[in-house]
Every structure is written in C-alpha cells, then in structure tokens.
C-alpha cells in the first residue's frame, strides 16, 4: 500500500493575514501541508509605519518584519509567487509561472493594492509614488528632502499621514482631493475640518473639492492641472487615492467580486466548504452592525479573520461542525498625524450624524457616530487614555442600545 499524498492548504497572499492564518491552521492541528504564495519577495512586515515613522526615518525590513510563531516555519513559503487563477470546484490554483497546485483547503489572503489615478487622466509623464510596500516607502522617503514641494493626491488616511510626515521632514506639502474635507467618507465633515485645521497650522495647503485633470512634467517638476482650471506644481508626487482588492485570480467561479470577495459570517467563500477569506479582501457580514457584508481595511482584521477563518476551514475539512458563535469583531484603527493621534472603533462611516461626547474638536475629543439612535462608531482625537473605556462603551451599546456614555 502506498501512502496517500499529504493533504494541502494553499494560502494565497503572504502578508499579515496570510501569516496569521498559517500560524492558526498549524497551531490548530492541521497536519497536512500549508503552502503560502506571497507576491512580495520577502517575509511579511507591518505596514502602518510605512506612512508614519518608517517614512520619516527610512524603512528597515528587519525592524518591520513580523515576529512569527514557530508554527509558521512548518509552512512552505513561496516568495515572489503569485496565483493568477483558482478553480474552486476542481480545487486547484494556477500560478503565474503556469504551474498548478491542487488543494484541499484554500485561503484567500491577497489583500489590496493601491489605486492609481484613472487612465482617462493623462499622467503618462509620471505616475509619482504610491505607499503600500516597503519598496514604495523607501523610494518616497528618498525624495522627501527639506524644502521639496510635495503634491499629495488624496486626503484619506494615507494621504493625510504622508502629508504630516513630509511636513515633519521640512517639505512643502499641498494636498489635492475631490472631497470637501480630509477623511470625509470614513469620519465625516466635522472631524475632517478639525484635522484639516491642524494640518494647515503645520503649513499644509489644501486644494479640496477639485479633481485632477492631468499631470504633466516629471520628477522634480510636476504640474498637476485641476478641474477648476488652476494647477499645482511640485517636485514630488504621491498618489493616495485608495485601494482596490486583489480578486482577479478568483474570477470565473461565480463569486461576487464587486468589492473584495463576499463570504458568509464564518468567512467561507463560494457557498461551500474548502475555501475561506481573511484580511482586507474579505467582505463579511458582522451582526454587531447588520447583515451587510463589508470589507474592513483595519489593523486587527487580518488577525481576527485569520483566527476565525482557520477554525472554520479546519472544521469544514474535518467534516465537523464549525463554531456556532457568530463572528463579531469590533473594527478599530488609528492614525498619527503630527502629535495628534486618532483612534477609531466600530464603523463611523455608517453614521448619519455625529455628536461630540467629550471635549471639543479644537483640542481633545471623543466623537460618537450614530446611525439613527444607534451608536455605530467612536473616534478619539488626542485622547488615547480614554480608548479602552470608549471601546468598551461602544461594544456595550452595540449589544444593548440603552447603554449610556459616561465621560
């Protein structure tokens, strides 16, 4: 009798989500193979500093690389390896080099890539920088010299953090954005205006409510023409216009890929067993809020989805019952801009109104985000010591709307 081939789980994506799910699978008792396909050429590393401290100081992989649990070493890590297709029915993944890998279990952990200005905008002269990888960070860092004129396109979190970091390095920064205030969609106008005021005090110029018509020139002499007929000149151009989930490799399986990959609450994709998604690419319903599947591009999402998706996949592959308790992670993120720390809990973007619960927006504040009467998010502006209490209150409110806020 010959030994049956080892069972195999293929993890597509080797960043934080891919690492944590690999650890969870192996720590959770998976005794078959785990193959991790990482498009990047090196070990997974932490990305939040890439627009903050690592951008200011220059990134160092040794410092940024994640500490790994010992289990992670039992997986086969294929760096610089990309999946280009998957067949969920046949349980195979096709690699960029043309090879195929059969699997018993699949984890989609491909995350997001930075968006670029749309092709209809002529920016053939020079695309400028994006900030997603350590290489991106290193290349931008090299150009952020004192006195450099930096044009940041986009006023979301990354754009605002890049603006703050570049200003701290002595650059002259102009932020261009379609929205009327920074971080408008996730945090709303009042907070956006308050953060904008701090940027302006630090010397950042804003050109808001305008779109980019074209980009001409090249490194050291860009000219960004705007929809209002004016233009902004700069030495350095940075595109911070959001991110797009990496899902093309899942096409052809009848999946909803309109914004990430839709999963059930246990993070299964495709409606069957044998495939799960983790991290930024997973669009899952969270009963803490409602039954609408959403992607959450926040720090804990890869960690929490990895733990849960690993448990789901292990149970499904073993033919046992998956954990009946609903998956209800509380999203949270932070942003550092100058000496201001923003900390968010829940999903402020769902709110139809905001209320300052504590302090004031000019100084330190706790802002509540409400959908109807329901608190769905909370933001701390420069009040880190209140974070644990505010988070606890939000969790209580989400499970008991009668909970009251105590400043």
């Amino acid at each position: 009798m010959s030994t049956p081939p080892a069972r195999r789980i293929v993890v597509v994506g080797g960043s934080l989500g891919g690492l944590r799910v690999t650890e969870a699978l192996l720590a959770g008792g998976w005794d078959g193979e785990v193959v991790v396909l990482s498009a990047e050429p090196h070990v997974p590393y932490t990305r939040p500093p890439l627009s903050k401290a690592a951008l200011a100081d220059g990134p160092d992989l040794a410092t940024l690389a994640f500490k790994q649990r010992p289990e992670a070493a039992r997986a086969e890590w294929r760096f610089g390896s990309r999946a280009v297709a998957a067949d969920l029915a046949a349980r195979t993944v096709t690699l960029a080099d043309g090879g195929t890998l059969a699997y018993d279990g699949l984890v989609a952990a491909t995350g997001v890539r930075p968006r670029r200005l749309p092709a209809r905008i002529d920016h053939s002269a020079g695309a400028g920088h994006v900030v997603r990888t350590i290489e991106d960070c290193r290349a931008l860092h090299a150009e952020l010299r004192p006195g450099a004129r930096v044009v940041v396109i986009g006023a979301g979190f990354i754009g605002c953090e890049v603006a703050a970091t570049a200003t701290g390095l002595g650059c002259h920064v102009t932020v261009v954005a379609v929205d009327e205030s920074p971080m408008l969609v996730p945090l709303g106008r009042a907070v956006g205006d308050a953060v904008r005021a701090r940027h302006e005090r630090a010397g950042v110029a804003f050109r808001l409510g305008v779109s980019v018509a074209s980009v001409s020139g090249t490194r050291g002499a860009y000219s960004v023409a705007l929809s209002d007929g004016t233009s902004v000149k700069g030495d350095v151009l940075v595109q911070c216009v959001g991110s797009a989930p990496c899902v093309e490799w899942l096409e052809g399986n009848g999946l909803d890929l309109t914004d990430g990959v839709v999963t059930d609450n246990r993070l299964r994709l495709g409606g069957g067993t044998g495939a799960v998604a983790v991290g930024d690419v997973a669009r899952f319903p969270n009963p803490l809020f409602d039954d609408v599947p959403r992607r959450i591009e926040h720090w804990q999402t890869p960690l929490e989805t990895a733990r849960r998706a690993a448990a789901t996949l292990l149970a499904d592959l073993a033919g046992t019952e998956a954990d009946p308790v609903p998956f209800t992670p509380l999203p949270s993120f932070w942003s550092d801009q100058y000496d201001l720390r923003l900390q968010s809990f829940g999903v402020p973007g769902l709110a139809d109104r905001t209320e300052v619960l504590e302090g004031d927006l000019e100084g330190q504040a706790v802002v509540g985000y409400f959908r109807g009467e329901q608190l769905v998010g909370a933001l701390l502006l420069g009040l880190p010591r209140r974070a644990a209490a505010v988070r606890k209150h939000l969790l209580a409110s989400l499970t008991d709307p009668a909970a009251t806020y105590a400043a």
């Binding site: 932490t46 994640f66 500490k67 720090w299 960690l303 932070w334 880190p384 010591r385 644990a388």
Partner: protein, 62 residues
C-alpha cells in the same frame, strides 16, 4: 509566563489592552502599564496581545 514590553518601541496604541485587559492597561497619562508576569490561564490573551501590537514591542518568555 514572563512578559516584557520594549518601552522604547511602545507607542501606546493600546491594542494589547483590548486583547488582554487583565495584563495591560493605559494609565491616566495614556502610557502603557503592564504586569511583568501572568498566570498560564492568560496565555491565549497575552499571545493575542503580542500579535496585535503594531510595533511588536511585546515578548513572552516561558
């Protein structure tokens, strides 16, 4: 189990406090305070805290 936090790295993000509130806390000034040792029963939470730390300042011994 002994717990060490590299306070030179720590940025007081509080992620460990959310993961293991019995071991980590932020004081009134927003600075991290923590217990240098914890019972075995807290291991899962402390490991989750170490993984949640954005600057990887937490190490666990034993």
């Amino acid at each position: 189990m002994r717990i060490n936090v590299d306070l030179a790295l720590c940025q007081n993000y509080g992620q460990c406090v959310f993961a293991a509130p019995d071991v980590f806390d932020l004081d009134d000034a927003g600075e991290l305070v923590y217990q240098a040792s914890a019972e075995e029963t807290a291991r899962a939470d402390v490991e989750a805290a170490a993984m949640a730390c954005p600057v990887q300042a937490i190490t666990i011994e034993g």
